[in-house]
């Protein structure tokens, strides 16, 4: 229940690439082949452990449909991490990545960690996008890359957790200002509790939490 940090994630990408399925697999450890279209945004949350610290991931699963784009853009702000998802069996979803990336970069903070995900890796026979292509795109744009399968759960944990690790490292390096909630990071009560022995840290923490 208590956590040291809370990271806000967004999941973006074309409709039908498996964003909601990835979330469901990660939060509930199950796969649902038939899924309603996401309206606007849905939410999920899960606790993970990094470096012995409890971290709560608050995940915003956005609608992929073009017509929702203007609405979902308003949700980008204040995300610490983004999962940019395409479908390895549909070349067009890969081709749209540049647009998604531009959108994400434009509407979020510059330090946001973006993980590129080629989903549906279980459908090897129908593959249209080579793994190397994904890797190349990621390298070119400075993203982390991974192929996953929401169906078999392959790499799903890793995708979410590696993104969190990346964010956590950035915090350690001081890249993220953790007192600015616009970065999508909040300090949790556990963090405050372990530090409460130090005088002053409590006050600073509260001041950080109070601002918006």
């Amino acid at each position: 229940m208590a956590y040291a940090y809370l990271f806000k994630y967004i999941i973006i990408g074309d409709t039908g690439v498996g964003k909601s399925c990835l979330l469901l697999q990660f939060t509930d450890k199950r796969f649902q082949p038939v899924h309603d279209l996401t309206i606007g945004v849905e939410f999920g949350a899960r606790m993970i452990t990094i470096d012995g610290k409890q971290i709560k991931l608050q995940i915003w699963d956005t609608a992929g449909q073009e017509s929702f784009r203007s609405i979902t853009r308003s949700y980008y702000r204040g995300a610490a991490g983004a999962l940019l998802v395409y479908d390895i069996t549909r070349r067009d979803t890969f081709n749209h990545l540049t647009t998604w990336l531009e959108d994400a970069r434009q509407h979020s903070n510059s330090n946001m960690v973006i993980m590129l995900i080629g989903n549906k890796s279980d459908l090897e026979s129908r593959r249209e996008v080579k793994k190397e292509e994904g890797e190349a795109f990621a390298r070119e744009h400075g993203l982390v890359f991974m192929e996953t399968s929401a169906k078999t759960a392959s790499n799903v944990e890793e995708a979410f957790i590696n993104t969190a690790k990346e964010i956590y490292e950035k915090i350690q390096e001081g890249v993220f200002d953790i007192n600015n909630e616009a970065n999508g990071i909040k300090i949790g009560p556990q963090h405050a509790a372990t530090n409460s022995s130090l005088p002053g840290s409590q006050g600073a923490q509260q001041a950080g939490g109070g601002c918006c």
């Binding site: 229940m1 208590a2 309206i39 606007g40 945004v41 939410f43 949350a45 608050q58 915003w60 017509s67 929702f68 203007s70 609405i71 308003s74 949700y75 702000r77 949790g188 009560p189 556990q190 405050a192 509790a193 409460s196 939490g209 109070g210 918006c212």
Partner: protein, 503 residues
């Protein structure tokens, strides 16, 4: 209250401003002499050539004129009470104009309102368009500066007036406070500090005002406080179940609320930018339209006809009404999650009830075997269940509003036959339904508590019952506040729709 007296009616604002500030051009008309029946004449005579000074340069005369009058304020505070009735329905813009009124305390608010009322007429488009640019200036930000500039001199009068206001604010309760928070902030923090020194009774209200302004912040802070408590007190594994804020977050209420807030905020920005890009009759028309959309948001009325005594403990009636209302919205949004949650809550209440022996003697013998199987519920269990149920229902309500907001914006160009204004009305009805349901639910839970805890002492049971009622009342407030967030969203949807028709 008719439509032409409504909040954003330019004429209303204009008149309140005029009435509140005795302008330099008419020094002969001492504020107290102005009787309501003169006002219409002033309007017709003055409007064309009168260029009201921009709000950011409050004329010194104004202030000095009002100063000698200030002792009157306390005499008028009695009348003021009646005047407050208007605030609720007039909404924000009246309050923001009231800032100016407070600054020139010479005239009581009640008098001003009377005057404004009698002088309200439907202005011609020419008049409206002439006022438009001025309004842009007087709106919002500058009012704060004005208050700042004037509060030193107006303080003497403001003190008397505001202290009487404070008691009214406290008794009028949360609805007024939340609705008027923004506007009251204009009066200026500085003023508040000074007033609070001389008026301890005001402190409470002040405390409410300086709290974070967005609802999600309030809730998030509550949640964080609770998390802090629980993390410090790891042993109380059971107790943390009854923390409303944390539960509300777990049901994703906070996330939906934050998302709804950002939609509402962005809609507001867009609506404002559209308004600034317009002028003349077009602007007047749009303002009138937006006003119509806003109206259901300021006229929230809870009929106290006690029909909530009706038996709907299983929530079937509620589900049906809600479904009907949702279908009237024509938005392809269903309230299934919410009604499902309501049904589950009902089932849980039923479980508790069935596990509790109603009357002792005979049933004890008969159901002894059963009771061995079904664990007895403690009052703490029931309390935890109540709090969790309230948090869940509130979270689902806010989720519903968030969905509505998204779909309204998404489908703005869609084929809905219903006007945005009518959608607002339906949403207001839904809000009332939800709040009633919350109240109904709190009653069945406290009922349950009394039954389960019939052997407990009052000091054990009473705080639990109070806790349930408290969170129920908070829940209703959160739902109403979330509903308010839909106002700008619907306004933007209206603009989008109109634009689509035009094309």
């Amino acid at each position: 209250m008719s439509a032409n007296e409504s909040p954003t009616d330019p004429a209303a604002e204009q008149m309140v401003e005029q009435a509140s500030a005795t302008t330099p051009e008419s020094p002969t008309e001492a504020p107290s002499d102005v009787s309501p029946d003169i006002a219409p004449t002033r309007k017709t005579r003055r409007r064309p050539e009168h260029k009201p000074p921009p709000a950011d340069d409050p004329s010194p005369q104004e202030v000095s004129e009002s100063k000698p009058e200030s002792p009157k304020a306390s005499n008028e505070s009695a009348v003021l009470q009646g005047g407050w009735g208007y605030w609720g329905s007039w909404g924000k813009s009246l309050l923001s104009t009231a800032t100016a009124t407070v600054a020139t305390v010479g005239q009581g608010i009640s008098q001003v309102i009377e005057k404004a009322e009698t002088t309200l007429g439907i202005p011609s488009p020419e008049e409206l368009s002439a006022q438009a640019p001025q309004e842009e200036n007087t709106d919002g930000g500058t009012a704060g500066a004005e208050g700042e500039a004037q509060d030193d001199t107006a303080m003497g009068g403001a003190l008397g007036m505001l202290s009487s206001l404070s008691s009214v604010v406290q008794s009028t309760g949360k609805t007024v406070i939340t609705g008027s928070l923004d506007a009251l902030e204009f009066i200026g923090k500085k003023t508040m500090d000074v007033i609070a020194e001389g008026d301890p009774g005001f402190k409470k209200t002040k405390g409410l005002m300086i709290r974070p302004t967005t609802l999600s912040q309030v809730l998030r802070e509550a949640k964080e406080r609770e998390e802090q408590q629980t993390s410090e007190d790891l042993s109380s594994d059971v107790e943390k179940k009854a923390h409303y804020g944390m539960l509300f977050d777990e049901f994703q209420g906070l996330a939906h609320l934050e998302a709804l807030e950002s939609l509402s905020r962005e809609s507001e920005i867009k609506v404002k930018s559209v308004l600034t890009s317009m002028s003349g009759g077009e602007l007047a028309q749009l303002k009138a339209d937006l006003e119509e959309v806003s109206e259901p948001f300021s006229l929230m009325e809870f009929e106290d006809d006690d029909d909530d005594t009706k038996e709907d403990s299983d929530g079937v009636e509620f589900a049906k009404e809600l479904r009907d209302a949702m279908s009237r919205l024509q938005l392809s949004v269903t309230a299934d999650k919410l009604t499902q949650a309501r049904t589950n809550i009902h089932d849980r209440i039923a479980d508790v009830k069935s596990a509790t022996p109603v009357s002792t003697t005979e049933e004890d013998e008969k159901d002894e075997a059963d009771e061995m199987a079904v664990p007895q519920h403690t009052p703490e269990d029931v309390h935890a269940l109540a709090i969790s149920s309230l948090a869940e229902l509130t979270a689902k309500s806010i989720e519903l509003f968030h969905k509505v907001a998204q779909v309204v914006l998404h489908n703005a160009s869609g084929n809905a036959q219903i006007s945005t204004g009518d959608q607002a009305k339906v949403l207001a009805q839904i809000t009332i339904m939800l709040c009633k349901e919350i109240s109904l639910l709190s009653k069945s839970f406290t009922c349950c508590l009394t039954t389960v805890g019939s052997n407990e002492k009052g000091e054990v049971l009473n705080p639990l019952i109070t806790g349930v009622f408290l969170e129920a009342s908070n829940s209703a407030t959160y739902i109403q506040d979330a509903f308010q967030l839909l106002r700008t969203v619907l306004q933007l949807a209206h603009i989008q729709r109109t634009a689509d028709f035009a094309q």
